[in-house]
């Protein structure tokens, strides 16, 4: 990029027209532009082919749009009398998210410490744990939920468990990356005073990594509160079950009440969490 700027800057070139820099940048310029155009073309071709293949076309949007209008009309006015009924399930949704996040964050701490190369210099320990973390993170939360519903039956426990695994994967990964980036100085100082490995972690690692860890915990909680609202679709508890029912019974006015309440909850929690996170860092 810097070469590009130089070649187009007239003031730097006239005195030395045959500057080697110049010829290099010109030579680089053409294939680079060609490459960029080719990349875009490829991108568009892939987009068109894929959407044709799976029947996703602008035509559908065109046909569907009026339906959307109909739906919106049915949704308003929302059925506010439904509010007392959905209060408890909404609270349950929040509880699922809170429990899942915290219970996932706890095992994430040792997992992160055992994955971080500067704390656990044994590849035989860190590698299996990192692999496990990578595996956990490939599974979508809804898939976890569906599996746990199958195992433990319908209800909030399955949802909580799904979010627990999901949070564990994210928090452990982000935390071990933070731990690997901490200042090694205090660790060295603790080694020098004769600290055990655990004392070194308590005095050298935790004070440095804690703010980031809490920030990841809150961030994951923000994600989980959204995920928890749809867990009910696969029977894993929370407000999603009622939303699914309302939609199935064509009670769009009730669905609207649920959506508005959920939106409010998500907004409030996001706001609070973002504020705390900003203070921490």
């Amino acid at each position: 990029m810097r070469l590009d700027i130089k070649s187009t800057n007239p003031t730097s070139t006239p005195s030395i027209p045959s500057s080697p820099n110049d010829s290099i940048s010109n030579a680089l310029d053409k294939p680079r532009r060609g490459k960029r155009i080719a990349t875009w073309m490829l991108f568009i071709v892939i987009l068109v082919v894929c959407s044709l293949y799976i029947d996703v076309t602008p035509y559908q949007l065109f046909v569907g749009l009026p339906e959307m209008g109909v739906l919106l009309k049915e949704m308003f006015p929302p059925d506010w009398s439904y509010l007392p009924t959905i209060w408890a399930p909404t609270l349950q949704t929040i509880k699922i998210a809170v429990a899942g996040t915290i219970l996932g964050a706890i095992p994430a701490i040792p997992a992160a410490l055992f994955s971080a190369n500067n704390i656990t210099p044994f590849k035989s320990v860190s590698l299996p744990i990192r692999t496990l973390l990578n595996l956990v993170r490939t599974v979508p939360d809804l898939l976890f939920a569906a599996v746990f519903v199958a195992v433990f039956g319908i209800g909030p426990f399955a949802g909580m468990l799904a979010l627990l695994f999901f949070s564990f994967g994210i928090i452990a990964k982000l935390t071990y990356e933070t731990v690997e980036a901490i200042d090694p100085g205090p660790l060295e100082a603790m080694t020098a005073v004769g600290a055990t490995r655990i004392q070194l972690i308590v005095f050298g690692v935790i004070p440095q990594a804690l703010p980031a860890f809490i920030s990841y915990l809150l961030y994951t909680f923000e994600i989980n509160i959204r995920a928890a609202t749809v867990l009910g679709f696969v029977g894993a508890g929370g407000i999603g079950l009622l939303l699914n029912q309302s939609l199935g019974l064509f009670r769009y006015d009730r669905a609207a009440t649920i959506i508005i309440l959920t939106l409010a909850v998500v907004l409030i929690i996001d706001n609070a969490s973002t504020r705390i996170r900003r203070k921490l860092l």
Partner: protein, 265 residues
């Protein structure tokens, strides 16, 4: 014998020679300053003494105990006896000065006890006395990162004192401080050395500082001891030999003395 190195050599995994057949005895209460060019092996020597670096061959004894062959709780007990001061202070920045000084006490307690997080009253007293000795007791409850560089270095000295160490190793303790603070920190180290009879080994790259504070100067070059003697014996000619060239102005902290040297050479 306080510290004894016998035929100590260190070759780094990449083949670089850090130390070459070092034999050295240091007595209780000495104030040793190690000088030498950058890369001469000063840090390597210091860090071998408390085994932050494992030597390749030879033996290092502290109070007659081999730290080279120690491990586990015995190694930690020897380390507890050796305070270390770093150029970059290496404090835990987000916590209070007092907690930093208390962290020097962990070697005296079981892991479980420190996990619970409370130090006995006696430890707090030891920590506060240590802070008093370096004149910053009033900063005890302030976060460490809110102190100036010189104050932070004094906290790290207090940490070593809280260890109740009998040896202090200081690796370029004043390299990131201004000239005035440099003197204050060196004065603190000297006072502690004299009042508590703590054996002190300091790496310095300012020659005038070395001469002002040392009771003994050791010159290192390419991992070998090329000079070992009193301050009086460390003449400009000797130093020029250690450095392999005439001593330069930037090897003096005090620029007024730079003139004298220019006059000499």
């Amino acid at each position: 014998m306080m510290i004894e190195l016998r035929q100590v050599s260190k070759t780094f995994p990449n083949g670089t020679i850090g130390l070459k057949d070092i034999n050295l005895k240091i007595q209780t209460g000495e104030f040793v300053v190690i000088v030498g060019l950058s890369g001469a092996g000063k840090s390597t020597l210091l860090r071998s003494i408390n085994r932050l670096i494992d030597v390749t061959s030879g033996d290092i004894q502290i109070h007659g105990q081999s730290i080279t062959s120690a491990s586990g709780s015995r190694l930690r007990a020897i380390r507890r006896n050796i305070g270390m001061i770093f150029q970059s202070f290496n404090l835990i920045k987000r916590t209070t000065v007092l907690n930093n000084v208390l962290s020097g006490r962990v070697g005296y307690h079981s892991t479980l006890r420190t996990l619970l997080g409370s130090f006995p009253k006696r430890d707090v007293e030891i920590a506060l006395t240590a802070l008093e000795r370096v004149n910053i007791r009033e900063k005890a409850y302030i976060r460490a990162d809110q102190l100036s560089g010189g104050q932070q270095q004094r906290v790290s000295i207090a940490r070593a004192l809280a260890q109740e160490a009998t040896i202090i190793l200081a690796d370029e303790p004043v390299a990131s401080l201004d000239p005035l603070t440099t003197r204050q920190v060196m004065d603190d180290l000297q006072r502690i050395n004299r009042e508590l009879n703590i054996t002190t080994i300091v790496n310095l790259h300012f020659i005038d500082l070395a001469r002002d504070y040392a009771t003994r100067i050791i010159g290192l070059r390419a991992g070998e001891i090329v000079f070992d003697g009193s301050v009086g014996e460390a003449t400009d000619e000797i130093l020029a030999e250690i450095y392999g060239r005439p001593v330069k102005a930037d090897e003096f902290l005090d620029t007024s003395r730079e003139m004298q040297v220019v006059g000499v050479t």
